[in-house]
């Protein structure tokens, strides 16, 4: 990131009850460069309002993916185009 671009835009997606609690399935979020990891992004999102705060309240019940691959809270989002949040999967 250059000094002229202290933020970048990331697509954020929500599934299952995270989608229901936030009321959003997909959005474009301006993310400051200081936001380095999935966990940092969660803090940024929670600060946006009570529905986001509630959706992420139980960190152990929320999983994340970066660009269609499972990611841990500590994973870097420096190169991320799309970050998704969802509960543990229940397919099959």
């Amino acid at each position: 990131m250059s000094v002229n671009a202290p933020t970048r835009e990331i697509t954020v997606r929500y599934f299952a009850w995270l989608r229901e609690k936030t009321g959003i399935s997909e959005e474009r979020v301006m993310v400051p460069d200081s936001i380095a990891t999935v966990a940092d992004l969660v803090e940024l999102l929670r600060a946006r309002g009570p529905e986001f705060d509630a959706a992420f309240a139980h960190a152990s019940a929320v999983r994340a993916a970066i660009d269609h691959a499972h990611a841990k809270p500590q994973a870097s989002i420096a190169q991320a185009r799309e970050v998704a949040f969802f509960p543990p999967v229940t397919g099959g």
Partner: protein
């Protein structure tokens, strides 16, 4: 090797025929079909709605399938997962693993299901007879079952 996500039902005979046609090295075809259950704790289940993450689902299923193909030397394999609203008795998922011998076919079929259950981004919401909706909780036992294959999780 292929994966599909679809609303429509599947026909296991047709899928096996397409997978095995012309490949006479296949001696073993192991298949699993998961269905919407009713009765027991699900006695009041009216329907189940399957949501998924388009794009990631196909990517994750393809990763799981490629791992199975390599690990068990599969001749052919297929994963089909339905989405949308399903009722008791409906098919949810189909996994087919073809190999020269039955040991690898069985193991690959179980492996594919175990990882699909813990890795593929699908979520189930149950609607009971009284119209109430409830997201299905992930089962810890599924995670433990998948651990037996000892793959490093990301």
């Amino acid at each position: 090797m292929s994966v599909r996500v679809q609303q429509a039902d599947f026909d296991v005979s047709d899928e096996i025929a397409a997978l095995t046609r012309g490949n006479e090295s296949i001696g073993a075809v192991a298949t699993f079909i998961g269905k919407v259950r009713a009765g027991g704790q699900e006695a009041s289940l009216r329907s189940m709605t399957l949501e998924h993450y388009p794009g990631m689902t196909e990517a994750e299923l393809s990763r799981i399938e490629a791992e199975a193909a390599q690990r068990f030397e599969l001749s052919a394999s297929l994963v089909v997962h339905r989405v949308g609203e399903l009722v008791p008795g409906d098919n949810i998922v189909l996994v087919i693993a073809c190999a020269p011998h039955r040991g690898n076919a069985f193991a690959a079929c179980e492996f594919l299901m175990d990882y699909l259950k813990t890795r593929a981004p699908f979520w189930k919401k149950e609607t009971s007879a009284d119209g109430e909706g409830k997201w299905v909780d992930a089962r810890e036992s599924d995670e433990e079952t998948a651990q037996r294959w000892r793959i490093a999780h990301s």
